[in-house]
Amino acid sequence: MSSVVDAKVAKEHGLTVKEWQHALDVLGRTPTIEELGMISVLWSEHCSYKSSRVHLKTLPTEAPWVIQGPGENAGVIDVGHGLAVAFKMESHNHPSFIEPYQGAATGVGGIMRDVFTMGARPIANLNSLRFGDPKAPRMRFLVEGVVAGIGGYGNCMGVPTVGGEVAFDPSYNGNILVNAFTLGVLPKDRVFLSQAAGVGNPLVYVGSKTGRDGIHGATMASEEFSKDSEAKRPRVQVGDPFTEKVLLEACLELMKEDVIVAIQDMGAAGLTSSSAEMASRGGLGVEINIDLVPRRETGMTPYEVLLSESQERMLMVVKKGHEAAVHRIFEKWDLSSAVVGVVTDTQHVVVKDAGRVVVDLPVSLLVDEAPMYERPTQRPEGLEALWVEPKLAEHPAAERLLALLARPTIASKRWIYEQYDHSVRAGTVIGPGEADACVIRLPDAGGTPKAGGGPGIAISVDMNGRYCRLDPRRGAALGVLEAVRNLACVGAEAKAVTDCLNFGNPEKPEVMWSFAEAVVGLGEACRALDTPIVSGNVSLYNETEGRPILPTPTVGVVGLVEDVRRVAKTAFPGPGHRIFLLGSTDVLSFAGSELQLLETGVLSGRPPEPDYARARAVHGACIEAVRSGLARSAHDLSEGGLLVALAECLVAARPGPDGVWLGAEVKLPGGERTRSAFAEGPSLILVTVLDSEVEALCALAERHRAPIAELGRTTDSGRLHIDQFLDVPTSALSDAYENGLMRALDLNALGG
């Protein structure tokens, strides 16, 4: 490492000419190499949100039940019974493309640290994944590695992975997305924050020792991929879930004692960002003796220690005089803990190496003075021209349905979620693959399970990037609607949202436009549905060789179930039930639909304008139908439209002990048949009821002003039958749906 710092070295650190000048101006001198390292990571897109901040400010973040909104390690909401939940979603896209197992694993490890830093015990993990064309180079390797990495970390931690979503599109060929979500439970009056306080309080380092892992990972996440990303390989971090598990237990044990003033995990940019951010949030300064930081390797320079992204580490401000409690508990768990510094009133970050000052920077330079850009936006040329739906050729409906069910985006994700432990912690009421959202029974404030029924948490993560490409504002809003609707299907009322905004290079005005529009759409939908955004993450520069991914502003929505014994699942309950469709098919469209892509290969049309009043009516009716026990099953329409949804309800029912499958006898709702069978649209939910409950259901729908139409009934024929349109054995639907993913990717079967 050259120790002469000049414009060239600054450029190598990713600073622009202007940013370098800005640093010189504010500082009034040339920074040391350590200072430059700190400035460059804190000013990186990943840490500073310099391109996105102006837009994010417009999002709704408040509601009476919000305890902690954006700005801390995770958002926290009140869920009643003296309990709160903390949750957040985060991307680990770039590392996962380079080394899928470790990239995905450390992503999961990072998001869990964000959550238990708040004092919460993690009780649910979810993930949202985007892969490229199944036949693209390395794609199978990436899928296998990411899934194994997510499982490898979460399973070892003993946190159930209870849901997620996976979609495939060639735009992700060179830049996959791995977005990980964690939710934890905590006593509502005991939230831990990261604001340094109390001049003279010691700064305590706990967890793994520091090595040379991932130095400059944060800047890597802020650059476009290029061929020479290969050269960045050794920067990949390796996860150690075993250490994180003991770190989790040690932190939660320590949190029961009244000694922690502030706590912050060392994520991207490690010690640099955790110390500067804690100082900034507390309006104070910190002094660190870098030589006291526990190390794994010999000969590390202060620069390396400051920028290391070694995993499984935390920084805490502890009440002076209580250091012994920390050491006692961490020793019990065989973990390192060391006092490495002190809180000061200087509003500077000072770093000393054996007494020699190597860093002395105003906190404001690192955090508040970080650049903020209002980047130019430009609506893509020819967007309107795209807003025309191409005509679909005539094609037999049964073939269409089977082909849709086998599409990897639609097909069962069983091969994936069976590699995740989803039943640990005695709380999984609805796990992956059973319903549109997962449901976790709330434990007590310490995380101990509570027997019987009682309140639960429902979670869904969603987004359709194709809709967002065609109209990012509508697309983002439709994604929120889908996630909230998925919650309604299990009988849960949505309360709050976390997001993970994955986009291309923000320096391109068209990408920036899609980002800005998507944020508008998210804000609009979240306001309309009264679901504030309490945490989130932005991942930009998701492009390879100039080709951006589909705009993918993934959302995770958290809602409440009153009694976990009153929920609904996807599977049709048995023969002889009546099938109804809540919502109206007047909005169905082929714009960006799975069928359009399958048959034309062209992405076109304009997704429908969200109708929030309609959405609220349909969701309200569904929630009441489920909670009252009327609805015996519920499943919404999403990719692939009505027939795919019907097929999923049939397939999920599995054959009985006699090997006989369920069937359904159905009439399509009005309108052109292919459209009502396969087009896509929001606010549509399939529910089943007993014959004797039909009137009650219709009355309930009317009370909520939700449109409702009868489609038919379930049968014991083992076939999906629509007069003069389609007749397919359920076993064939199941074969296409259950094996589609494995066939597309040529994956090996799991055991048994």
Binding site: E99, V236, V238, F242, R296
Partner: protein, 87 residues
């Protein structure tokens, strides 16, 4: 010809399993144990190809599949049926 490929983690890459084994050994009273690193062995039967060819092929296998170049290195040893071994 037979080949033994040894895949080890690159220097500097964290090896949590190796650390756990090292700690355990020391707890068991093997105080002399310092750093411990775990790796993989892959033993391959290669039929009757020449040593030179085997070396070329196995190197290729190592690069393509057996080792993950992001975090691992590999080395190889060849043994012919007679038992002569080279590294």
């Amino acid at each position: 010809m037979r080949a033994r490929v040894i895949v080890t983690l690159r220097r500097g890459v964290l090896d949590p399993a190796g650390q756990a084994v090292g700690n355990s050994l020391r707890h068991l009273g093997f105080g002399e144990v310092g750093d411990v690193r775990l790796g993989k062995v892959i033993d391959l039967e290669l039929g009757s190809i020449s040593r030179a060819e085997a070396e070329k092929k196995v190197n290729e296998m190592g690069q393509k599949l057996l080792a993950n170049p992001v975090i691992e290195d590999f080395s190889l040893e060849l043994t012919d049926e007679g038992g002569t071994r080279t590294t």
